[in-house]
């Protein structure tokens, strides 16, 4: 769903009310300039208000209850910790490290997924390999591979990239493969009719036809990758390795710097939001624009 569509729906049918009367009558009342009902506000405003509500409730709870600051920080303190963390570079560096590992893992993972799915559509053997491997390895939480990764690569970034790649290969491969299998038969026939050979059929017909599935696969992969990288960094933190947001959170807890723990969590949440918006933008420019989004 694009961000804008709920507004359009809301303006047509007022939330909770009876359906609007047909607007064909000439003596219909002029549209009210200000409508303060929740549903008639723009989406961004509604979402911002929810965040404000959350922050207010949070701050009120901390102020009124007098909870131990070693257990729970107020949004004001977290805000200060965020600013300080980005100013002195510690939080920024941790975020950078996490993002670098995540992106590298995504890159290798998607490359392997593309090769696997291409082979699967090319040969029967490749298809069998993909089916067996994905059904075996997809249900495996990739964080479970971390001990092996540490054994093979040591407490290094390579180990983390390996684990993240493991997490993202299967959601991408399975979705791209579904996209290939469900590609429109007529389009494929047209591709053959205009003389496309196998390689161009895959790269210029099958891949674009599978794009809606591919995007949702990459979305899932991001979510898996995020969870895996933060969890791995937490384990690394415990094991004495360095760097990354998970490590930052664990280390802050170690030094009882609770606002920093929250600051780390907020950073993760905000990055997740930003990535979501990137996906929405990509979809708007591709599958939504092409009318391929179901």
């Amino acid at each position: 769903m694009s961000l804008s569509s709920p507004t359009e729906q809301q303006t047509i049918a007022p939330a909770g009310g009876t359906p609007a009367p047909p607007t064909t009558t000439t003596d219909a009342a002029p549209r009210r300039v200000r409508d303060w009902r929740w549903g008639s506000m723009p989406v961004w405003l509604r979402r911002v208000l929810v965040v404000v509500l959350l922050l207010t409730g949070w701050q009120l709870y901390v102020t009124v209850s007098g909870v131990n600051p070693l257990l729970f920080s107020s949004p004001a303190d977290v805000g200060k910790a965020l600013v300080a963390g980005f100013q002195n570079g510690e939080l920024l560096r941790s975020t950078g490290t996490t993002m670098r590992v995540l992106l590298l893992g995504m890159l290798f993972g998607s490359l392997i997924a593309v090769v696997l799915t291409t082979l699967a559509v090319w040969t029967r053997f490749g298809e069998d390999v993909l089916v067996v491997f994905s059904s075996m390895l997809n249900p495996l939480p990739s964080i479970a591979v971390l001990p092996l990764a540490i054994l093979w690569f040591g407490l290094s970034e390579t180990a983390l990239v390996f684990v993240v790649a493991n997490a993202v290969i299967w959601p991408i491969a399975i979705n791209v493969n579904t996209g290939f299998r469900t590609a429109n038969r007529t389009i494929l026939a047209v591709g053959r009719n205009i003389g496309l050979k196998r390689w161009r059929m895959i790269s210029e017909v099958l891949f674009p036809a599978a794009l809606p599935h591919t995007i949702s696969g990459v979305k899932t992969a991001w979510a898996f990758g995020w969870r895996t990288i933060v969890a791995s960094e937490l384990v690394f933190g415990v094991a004495g390795g360095g760097g990354g947001l998970g490590y930052f959170i664990n280390n802050s807890r170690y030094y009882l710097d609770i606002p920093d723990v929250f600051a780390g969590l907020v950073t993760i949440a905000v990055i997740g939001l930003l990535i979501d918006m990137v996906f929405i933008l990509i979809e708007r420019r591709t599958v939504v624009r092409w009318g391929m989004k179901t």
Partner: protein, 283 residues
């Protein structure tokens, strides 16, 4: 409903009877085609033979399931013959190729991720034209189909009729040896269909391309075709090849009505009664 095609000015193209002709382009000779359903072999086309001369528009018509579409797909190279031979310009049609451009019935035969211009230009680029040449040619054929103002639209923004126009422009732009049309107007409303039939007649006349057109509409067969090949129920053979004269193309004329009745009787000889008024609109 159906508009008469403009009178043809060039020499008469229709041929009296298939036989040994020097300008034979498509030769279907004792074609037999079947397919497997749950392991059992079902014969759709038993023994079909006919010739198509260069520049001719030939209509393939027959009862539902008679294998007319199957035959077209085999000429296109998507299906294999069980027996017999099919040649286009003397070469057997063993695989699909742009020399036999196909227009399908389905509206989703366009690439959704390419705009209208690129849907027509892209196949040309992949067949040896430069980008500039391809786009120039695509523009020319899209203009012939009245699509000059829709060049930058994506297929999902087009109506069904416009989508079929793009598909027809794409097929003509390839400048194929022959054009294969598989009920391209079958899913259109009557008005749009009549308009597209007239446009197809115009562009076919202008380019002189040989066309094999599968339809289940008798009216469409008369309006578009030089000759009509009527198939029987499956496993099908050729029941008769009917030549359509220019006079017969004038809707409502004496000849039009007699050809329509004749084709109707050929189609419904297998027991089904023809309801002509229904057949007029619903085929």
């Amino acid at each position: 409903m159906v508009q008469p095609s403009p009178p043809r000015t060039e020499p008469e193209r229709s041929v009296p009877h298939p036989g040994e002709r020097p300008d034979t382009l498509l030769r279907v000779s004792h074609a037999s085609i079947g397919y497997r359903v749950n392991g059992a072999f079902t014969r759709a086309v038993a023994d079909v033979s006919f010739d198509v001369a260069a520049g001719e528009t030939i209509m393939l018509i027959g009862p539902s399931g008679c294998g007319k579409s199957t035959l077209l797909k085999t000429i296109a190279g998507f299906l294999d013959l069980a027996d017999g031979t099919i040649t286009v310009a003397g070469r057997r049609t063993l695989a699909p190729g742009p020399d036999r451009a196909v227009v399908f019935q389905e509206f989703d035969q366009l690439f959704p991720w390419r705009d209208v211009l690129d849907n027509v230009a892209y196949p040309l680029r992949r067949n040896g034209r430069t980008k500039a040449e391809a786009e120039q040619q695509a523009r020319r054929y899209l203009e012939m189909m009245g699509l000059s103002r829709a060049l930058d639209r994506h297929p999902h923004q087009l109506s069904g009729g416009m989508k079929q126009r793009v598909a027809i422009a794409r097929a003509f732009a390839l400048e194929p040896v022959m054009l294969l049309m598989d009920e391209p107007f079958g899913a259109l409303d009557a008005l749009t269909r009549a308009r597209l039939q007239a446009e197809l007649n115009a562009i076919a006349k202008r380019t002189g391309v040989t066309i094999l057109f599968v339809t289940h509409s008798i009216e469409e067969a008369i309006v578009l075709g030089d000759r009509v090949v009527v198939l029987t129920d499956p496993p099908s053979v050729v029941r008769e090849v009917v030549t359509i004269t220019e006079e017969a193309k004038v809707v409502g004329s004496e000849q039009y009505r007699s050809v329509r009745t004749h084709l109707g009787s050929l189609l419904h000889r297998d027991g089904k009664e023809a309801d002509e008024d229904v057949a007029e609109f619903t085929d």
